[in-house]
């Protein structure tokens, strides 16, 4: 019986419980709704809640825990793999699962009887071929050990599933009976139901925490694994990045960090002046009409997905820059070899960040009290003097915060650099050379058919960790500055 069916049964029980609970409450109130503490619907909901919620929670927990428990139980059967080699063990275990699934399928399609599936031996049957009849393709022949483990897996999961059905439905029934027993005219059903809803709300709010915990755990766990295979000092201080899946990789993060910062700096050099001046113009000079048109148009740039910017960098800006700075270009210089370069990615990322800088700065400039401007204008200052000498200094902390947020965006941006910056990791000052970034390497190390237990793949988690720490630091600092700034004028 699949989990879906069990869930459905529990829900039906809950629905029945709802009706019965409501009826019981009405009965205890002699059919007069005024004698009840709460509306009848709350009595029904109370029963339905106690029937379904614990049972469904148990179901979810069981579904999560059962494979882990079974894995633990059959792992000792795999003797061919040395203890401690978790990567290979994982591969064998997934083989075991495939064989077990294949046997299930074979039984369900009638190719094999249940007994046959339990009893076949590699000595007598070509399991691989039998399974391929039902459409399960195996990479290699099935070893005796694997088959035995698969058969044990099947029995364990069958009995586990049976236990699950019993337990879940049992819990549902116990909940229903308990709830019905509590139901009478004086029972405060509404309060209980509302407390239940509140628990649900709190649980939802905790998802944000769980997400953070999930991110941190998955990064830390794999980073620790990586540092077990590759020395941390070489990762943090190595000057070369040359992964090779055959072994002998050099995985120094410095060239990647350099590429990341170089591109981000160029992006900020584009976005900050343009964004800031645009914000100043829009908030201090523009007529309401111009503002009503220009501001949303500028924000269109922010709504465009990064993949579009990536393509723009790769196919439009890159070739354009080569036409200017490359061989045979307008300037007659040969600075640029190919379209993908720090400059390309930086420029396009700068365009992407313009609306980010401008709308944040716009908010911050608008938060400077009008009395400040009046004071300055009243002394005979021009608008630009007012902006430069009164408004901007007053808004400075906020603007710094905005720029830091933009920097964190730039550092974490992926698609533009994957498509526009190139793939070569190098420590160079030439902005027309291809370089690569932390994010681009995370993508390249984790896509493709990498073995997830090799240092070349695991390094991506350490890169992710570094990225996460840097951007988190920048964000926390920037948000702190902006909040301090806001408080100043509130």
């Amino acid at each position: 019986m699949s989990a879906l069916w069990i869930a459905l049964i529990v829900l039906i029980l809950a629905a029945v419980g709802f009706v019965v609970g409501r009826g019981r409450a009405m009965q205890s109130a002699d059919g007069n709704i005024r004698n009840l503490h709460s509306l009848p619907v709350y009595y029904g909901s109370h029963v339905a809640m106690l029937t379904s919620v614990p049972a469904l929670l148990l179901l979810a927990l069981w579904l999560f825990a059962q494979p882990l428990a079974i894995n633990r139980m059959i792992a000792p059967m795999i003797t061919s793999v040395e203890a401690g080699d978790s990567g290979t063990l994982g591969l064998v275990l997934s083989d075991v699962r495939r064989v077990a699934d294949g046997l299930d399928l074979a039984v369900s399609q009638g190719v094999m009887t249940d007994d046959a599936a339990r009893d076949i031996r590699t000595e007598f049957t070509d399991v691989r071929e039998r399974l391929s009849q039902v459409g399960v393709a195996l990479g290699s022949d099935v070893s005796r050990e694997t088959l035995a483990a698969a058969q044990r897996y099947r029995t364990l999961s069958t009995s586990g599933s049976f236990l699950m059905v019993v337990a879940v439905i049992g819990v549902a029934l116990v909940g229903a009976v308990f709830a019905l027993a509590r139901t009478n005219r004086d029972f405060r059903a509404r309060n209980v139901v509302e407390a239940g809803i509140k628990v649900v709300l709190i649980a939802a709010a905790c998802i944000a925490i769980l997400t953070t915990v999930g991110i941190v755990l998955s990064l830390i766990f794999n980073t620790v694994k990586f540092f077990g295979l590759y020395p941390a000092s070489q990762f943090f201080f190595g000057l070369t990045w040359s992964p090779s899946f055959g072994g002998g990789s050099e995985l120094g993060i410095l060239p990647l960090l350099w590429g990341t910062f170089y591109i981000s700096i160029i992006a900020l050099a584009v976005a900050v002046p343009i964004g800031l001046f645009a914000a100043i113009y829009l908030s201090e000079y523009a007529t309401p009409k111009v503002r009503a048109i220009a501001k949303p148009l500028l924000e269109v740039l922010a709504g465009i997905p990064t993949i579009v910017y990536g393509l723009f960098a790769l196919l439009t800006v890159g070739p354009l820059l080569v036409n200017v700075f490359g061989e045979g270009g307008i300037l007659g210089v040969t600075w640029m070899g190919g379209g993908t370069a720090v400059m390309t990615a930086g420029l396009v990322m700068g365009i992407m960040l313009i609306p980010f800088v401008s709308s944040l700065s716009d908010d911050i400039i608008n938060a400077v009290p009008q009395s400040m401007r009046d004071g300055s204008l009243g002394l005979g200052a021009t608008r630009s003097e007012t902006v430069r000498q009164v408004v901007l200094p007053a808004a400075l902390p906020g603007i710094v915060g905005a720029i830091l947020l933009a920097a964190s965006r730039a550092i974490g941006e992926t698609m533009i650099v994957v498509l526009g910056a190139g793939a070569a990791a190098r420590l160079s000052l030439n902005p027309f050379e291809a370089m690569t970034t932390v994010t681009a390497k995370i993508v390249s190390q984790l896509t493709g058919d990498a073995d997830f237990s090799s240092p070349e793949a695991l390094v991506a988690f350490s890169l992710g960790m570094t990225l996460f720490v840097i951007t988190l630091g920048l964000n926390v600092f920037a948000l702190w500055i902006v909040r301090k700034y806001r408080e100043q004028y509130e």
Binding site: F277, P305, L315, V418, L446, G448, T471
Partner: protein, 452 residues
């Protein structure tokens, strides 16, 4: 005040009296600085607008070509000798002729067409089919299998031209660029010119680009974005179903119930930081938790949807809280005043009033999720060919698929420039979706905007 009195002797206006009607030198200079400063502002705004226009121009000028495709019309004699030598008319027998076996038929058809139109060429008969998509044989075979009575007849087929020929009609491919091309020779183009004059080669709107599936690296003319659109659709379904209730529940708790304590602060800090975590990190989370630990299927829209849900939740929570906050306390007080519980006042009064704002925020969050690419790369939604429509709803969630932005990335990565055109075309479709969503959000906001 003694200071001020003591100073009075030196009082008076040390500045010379000047007329207001004449600008002094300094004011002129200051006004020039003012004009300069304003010009910087206008220039910055103009540069921003220029970038926007440049971007949109690049998209439209490169992308619209993807919506048309070149077709070749030819009369194909479906030779019974080859397809069904025994004249059985049995579909199973006919099916034994593989796609490869139709090569000769196509060659003959092309030769016939050229002869009929009096077009001469030095190209060997066997090389003529380089003008056609390698999918042409499969197309004809499918037609034959659908209707076996066609065997032995001469039927007019409209087949896709190869991407080189298509590029020639679109101006992407020239005779010079073909000089060293193994797939097509400049002579072929002469034939194409002649056929075009004869009205047998035609470029027209290509629905298959919008509805079709991805094709292999060597057949860009067949690739379409339809399947990955379905992938995106299922992902958005997951995002909507999960993020709206969770986001609303979180917002209600934080806005209406949460006590001011460390735990609440901790949740708030988490949410605001998650909003700024790079999207690629969410991809790592998805890979490590959903795929490695939970063993959910790789490349499945379900996993993509889960990752995007976590990513868009902060956005939705922030906008939902803003719209809950904008419902004035007087409404809550009124409900509480007639004896409703706090929960009732929120679910019966506050939430319905905040709903338009919540929906607007949700749509914008969905739009953001729809365009997101980076996390999808890590959970394996690229690097394979999304060639089949899912068979059913469950398959739609669980079987490997691509998504629109991932498909665009995939095309951009391929070597053939014909794919670049399709990538731009895909962007047009993606942006149309985003635009629609944003317009709906704006209309919703306009329609229900309330001033308390």
């Amino acid at each position: 005040m003694t200071d001020a009195s003591a100073d009075r002797s030196t009082d008076g206006h040390s500045r010379a009296k000047t007329s207001l009607l004449q600008l002094d030198e300094r004011t002129k200079k200051r006004n020039a600085a003012e004009a300069r400063f304003q010009a910087y502002g206008i220039a910055a705004l103009a540069v921003g607008m220029f970038f926007l226009i440049a971007l949109l121009t690049a998209i439209v000028s490169n992308g619209t070509r993807a919506f048309t495709q070149t077709f070749v019309m030819m009369d194909v004699t479906l030779d019974a000798q080859k397809l069904d030598p025994d004249g059985t008319g049995d579909a199973e027998v006919i099916a034994k002729t593989t796609t490869f076996g139709y090569g000769g038929i196509i060659d003959a058809a092309l030769e016939q067409t050229l002869v009929a139109r009096g077009i001469t060429t030095e190209i060997a008969v066997g090389d003529l089919d380089q003008m056609l998509s390698s999918g042409a044989a499969a197309q004809i075979r499918r037609a034959v299998l659908d209707d076996t009575s066609l065997v032995g007849q001469t039927v007019t087929f409209e087949v896709l031209a190869s991407s080189r020929v298509d590029g020639y009609l679109k101006g992407r491919v020239t005779r010079e660029s073909l000089a060293r091309d193994r797939n097509l020779s400049p002579e072929h183009l002469d034939v194409v010119d002649a056929l075009q004059e004869a009205g047998l080669v035609e470029r027209r709107f290509n629905w298959a680009f919008i509805t079709g599936s991805d094709a292999s690296e060597s057949r860009p003319e067949q690739a379409g974005i339809g399947v990955s659109m379905i992938g995106s659709f299922f992902m958005m379904l997951v995002v909507l179903v999960l993020s709206l209730p969770i986001g609303v529940a979180t917002s209600i708790y934080l806005e209406e119930f949460a006590p001011q304590n460390r735990f609440t602060d901790f949740i708030e800090v988490n949410i605001s930081n998650l909003a700024a975590v790079p999207s690629i990190v969410f991809g790592i989370l998805g890979l490590a938790i959903f795929i490695q630990v939970a063993h959910l299927p790789q490349s499945a829209p379900l996993v993509g949807g889960l990752v995007l849900t976590l990513m868009t939740l902060p956005t939705i929570i922030i906008s939902t809280r803003a719209s809950l906050k904008s419902v004035p306390p007087s409404i809550r007080d009124a409900a509480l005043g007639v004896g409703a519980s706090k929960m009732q006042s929120i679910f019966h009064h506050v939430l319905p009033l905040a709903m338009p704002g919540i929906l607007t925020g949700t749509i914008l969050g969905l739009a953001q999720a729809l365009g997101e690419t980076a996390p999808l790369l890590l959970i394996g939604m690229v690097g394979f060919i999304a060639s089949n429509y899912p068979d059913g709803i469950a398959e739609g969630f669980l079987s490997p698929n691509s998504a629109m932005p991932a498909q665009i990335y995939e095309w951009a990565k391929r070597a053939d420039p014909a794919y670049y055109e399709r990538a731009w075309g895909g962007i047009i479709i993606l942006l149309l979706f985003l635009m629609t969503m944003n317009i709906i959000a704006i209309l919703l906001r306009r329609r229900f905007e309330r001033r308390w």
